[in-house]
Symmetry: C4
Subunit: 386 residues, 4 copies
């Protein structure tokens, strides 16, 4: 149960240290994802846990991603004639039929958590028939990840300064069976949690750039990422791959509008899990004005702080079409490998079903703004006395 896959990113001469990531493979009995995190904290090496769990700066946005859900209370409906069997959480997204609005968010360096890394996460997503989003910053090649999952998959691109590398990555992704490309618009810098930085831990998520057949890629330098992206890049990917493009990392309505006009097939409201820039709003806070400007032109995915069915109910009722879940997948991975990831997805799906039953909604499309009771509105005197 030890591995040495991590070399120091900024000190090549430092001898690789043993890094005892998990090798667990089992179904998990999950009470809540918060409890799962507490348990995972004991199972994941400290560097890995700090890397996964932390956020940028003072972690205000990280905390806000959770707290802000409480601003939107649920106005549950009663006696609507629903039983458990009536609850249907299926949806479709960019042509995919999905068993639920849940997908696995792209995340870096799964070997920080489990020896099987992305392969097990992807396999777990496949077991739950859930969409897996493969990060361009992985410890495993995109081809290996693609083979590991029996379910749908999207590829998240980090644009390289060398256009040949970027084109190679896109070609490889399409050939490996990824059916859409996620253009991450907000990953412009290191974005590492400060607790992780303080540990000086090794970190090398560049599997897609090494030990590969040069014809298919595997060359270039992962760390030579291009940040100077514009809406033009959306069209380039679409033309080059023929695949739909999701633009991830949107927090402003004018950006959403700009990218849709530039051809984006979907918008992902996200602050990168509070990992890139601290001080931006929670995703759920940023959602409403974006929903308004998007006006149903394209689907909206939301990530950031989803831990319970009620959070998904809020996101959907406020106008999102699907949600991406990140860290809890890593905790499931650490505690149970692929089966652990499957357990996380199934727990959250079941929690969503119970919550919809309790909220009085049969289908995702039943969830509209009337389910949302914004904190501060109801308490005002004019509501009370008016």
């Amino acid at each position: 149960m030890s591995t040495q896959v991590f070399a120091a990113a900024n000190d090549a001469s430092r001898p690789a240290v043993p890094y005892r990531a998990s090798t667990a493979e089992k179904q998990l009995n999950i009470i809540s994802l918060e409890r799962l995190e507490v348990e995972a904290r004991g199972a994941i090496p400290k560097a890995g846990y700090e890397f996964v769990s932390g956020g940028a700066g003072n972690e205000w946005t990280l905390r806000e991603n959770r707290r802000a859900f409480n601003d939107y209370r649920i106005a549950a409906k009663r006696l609507v004639g629903l039983s458990n069997n009536d609850i249907d959480i299926r949806t479709s997204l960019l042509g995919l039929n999905m068993p639920s609005p849940i997908m696995v968010a792209p995340m870096e360096a799964h070997m920080m958590v489990h020896e099987q890394g992305e392969k097990d996460t992807a396999r777990g997503a496949g077991l739950a028939k859930t969409l897996y989003c493969s990060s361009g910053a992985s410890n495993t090649t995109l081809e290996e990840i693609a083979k590991a999952t029996s379910g749908p998959k999207w590829f998240q691109l980090y644009w390289n300064n060398d256009d040949a590398v970027t084109r190679s990555l896109l070609t490889r992704a399409r050939e490996a069976g990824y059916t859409a490309i996620i253009l991450t618009a907000d990953a412009l810098g290191p974005g590492m949690p400060e607790d992780f930085k303080a540990m000086g831990s090794p970190f090398r998520p560049d599997a897609n750039f090494a030990n590969h057949d040069p014809k298919k890629g595997g060359f270039g330098n992962f760390f030579d990422q291009k940040t100077a992206l514009t809406p033009e890049n959306i069209q380039f990917i679409k033309r080059f791959t023929g695949l739909p493009v999701i633009v991830k990392g949107i927090l402003r309505p004018d950006d959403a509008d700009r990218f849709i006009r530039a051809g984006a097939d979907a918008i992902q409201v996200s602050n990168h899990g509070g990992r890139q820039i601290d001080g931006v709003p929670a995703s759920i806070t940023a959602l409403p004005p974006i929903v308004k400007v998007v006006n149903n032109r394209v689907p909206i995915i939301l990530d950031g702080g989803i831990r319970r069915g009620i959070d998904i109910v809020r996101a959907i009722a406020m106008g999102a079409d699907a949600v991406a879940v990140g860290r809890p997948m890593m905790y499931g991975l650490g505690l149970g490998g692929a089966q652990g990831v499957q357990s996380v997805i199934e727990h959250l799906s079941n929690d969503l079903k119970s919550t919809m039953l309790l909220a009085g909604a049969a289908k995702l499309s039943d969830l509209d703004a009337s389910y949302i009771d914004i904190v501060g509105e109801n308490e005002r005197f004019d509501t009370y006395n008016g």
Copy 2:
């Protein structure tokens, strides 16, 4: 002082474990119900305490049920010529003359707390001449509970998927002397506190379904509850029993209106003590818009977080007609059996009286919206400078 009444609900083969519930029988000297809870925590077995005290999910709604009362400050009146003897907290509700607006909320499985279970709670309510609401999920049959109290009683129905069982329960309730039926609209799933779930404790609140004369009921399966209820079910109960129906668990004004149009004789604003779905508003927050839409057509009962006289003053001043109190009754039960329950009711009644004296209101009907000073209103500049 030990008992083995609890068998594992989902593991019949597991040997019953000794469960040392309280056997106390005494009057209590109560300073406040918060202090009573601290004391009770030491007297109730851990599983029982977690079961009674906890709430659903992250317990945000559970905490909010208490916190939100602070949003409604009391604008006390002075020099209104009242002495202690002028304070009159009597009221009437659906034809019942009640010594106070306080009633005992329906709660499950009292044997988790005290060996005499519901019998002692009901007896304590009777000693205080207070309305007892008998939960359909009890450790004692509804007939035994009915016999135990000398006071008024209502029966809370869990609708069974087998209509014959439901009809049998209703018939038994009417014959046992219950004078109204509470239709719980929000108990659609397990709803157990996560700390309790994590303990894997036994729980079998199905006394009404076992060991009974088949002619009078006692058959069926408690856990085969019907959730697919509609407003039609209100009329069914009324016609079948001839009794008034209270619909419990309302959080939205449109629901209240819908159920009154369908025949509800009273509305209970409730989030099930924060036990069913976490993320819904506090009961007191949900009250004002419901009061507005109900517009005095039927009485309104509120439960959720009532611990002090001031909370009752708030609820009444904001438009409720009565309040149901749950967990504190269980703490009184655990510490003093029937007499403990009586002590809780009398303490709260006396606290209500002192608070009304201090607030300058002689009768419940004196309490109107002018007593409420909503946090945030008074602090605004236009109030100050206007």
Copy 3:
């Protein structure tokens, strides 16, 4: 340094316990009144400290009395040409020339804190030439207290159910040199902190009712207080004594108006230090609408949470004419007797002066609404972008 002045109020047969109140007599070097409280906590017997420091119920109002000051930020003025010597905090109130707007609030049972009780508090007030308000619930007779202070003094009346007793108290107060009567409108019940109740401590603040010349009073039963007061009682005191009447305990503008129409010569905005009914607003929160309705007809005194010069600046800028300070006087008394009380008054006066210098106001009458920046106003977008 021990005394046995306290007998059990509700158990006359209980032998008096030794109660080691302070005997300190010294000037205090005060950094802040919060630090003074921490120090006093070690010097005052536990029962006395709990009695003095605590509040009613959950102590929400007690805490709110402090917190709510933060809702009103100070918009300090700069370069207004002031030096220390320009600051003048003198004022006049009901004909009294006062060195500052500070007065000693009426408080019960000072022997809980110091062996010399009210005599030392009054003497300390006199040393600082500060108005002393003598509580009707004292451990010393009103005559002894009157003799102890060289400064101005008012008498706070607890109306007795026996009108002869009330008239006797008023006559004695006028003859002893008290120049105004405070009618406490909000002391209608026991109002003891729960931590104090839980200790079951002795408490007998009825010195005015025992061991006296029957001709001058000293008869009757302190605990037989009359709560059924009305605005008529204001006129009775005025006619009977010829003295001005302050009505204390106002939290509503309509009450203030009603009492002024009934003859009140001053209004005291107060929630009894958060000791009588928990859940009412902080005094400073209740002040603005009262200021508006009073409209300068009579002076307004505010008490509740005053600990620093900035709090007085807020109260005055928001429309109060003077402030009454309670608990800190008791902490000064416990740590330094009369000189300790003097030190508290002088510290607070000096703090008020420095704060006025820093806020850019030379006289109390300079402090107007423009000094107040209400939290939440400045942060709104229309302020920012408008």
Copy 4:
């Protein structure tokens, strides 16, 4: 590593105590300035740390200076075509070309922290080519400080009651090469943290008044400061020195307007780091209405709570032109002397650059109000449903 430069300010007979200030000289590896403070706490003598880190009164304003930044969330822009090299944080201020909008705030008594005192702070500022503001309350003469830095410098004046002393200080400052004068409008009293006062520590920041050539100054009494300043004093300095004047300590828009009309060349929004009067707003809260009234007539500097690049982004986007940073410079000084100060400035500059890249702004002038998302605005129902 010990020194005895501090004598008791108010007790000349007290023997000087050894005071082991830091002698460190090294570059620092900084993860965040919050972490730096934690580290510095161990390196700075306790008296010095309390003096530097504390604030006035209850330190509400001190904490608010940090908290209030969170009221202004950043609405980051995406896909704007920026790479690291495009980010330009240069600016100019009163004719100075500055590498960034960051300057070193005037602070007293640097020898409390490091044996080299102001000389090392100034030298560090020079190494980073950053504007150094020299406090009139220093442990080193203004001439020594001027010589220590190779960068630009301004002099902060404490006006003396003896006009000859004031004129002497201004003459000396101009001759020593200071290019502007800061008139501190809010330092009217002692303003020492209470934790520091409670220690009774020595403090004598009057180097400019002692051991000097009488012809050039060095006479007078530092503690004889004049507080009775008016806008006339602005013109006096301008005429006497021919240098521009920055008025520091503004919290009200009407003050800003008054001082600009009186000739101020720049306005510094500041609450003196929460050190002078507790209860005034955070600087960032006070900024918006001042920006509005200043209306670009003069530049606006903001200080108070700046710890991260995001704070500078907020200040600039909300209308400030530059920011002054205080305490973190002292922590850098304590841990690394001049190089430590340089490290702090470079860390903050780099953090500002990364944050601008992540926020999607190339130049400071790109940062406008559209980057600010005020907490509470987005959550309102009319935004959501409108």
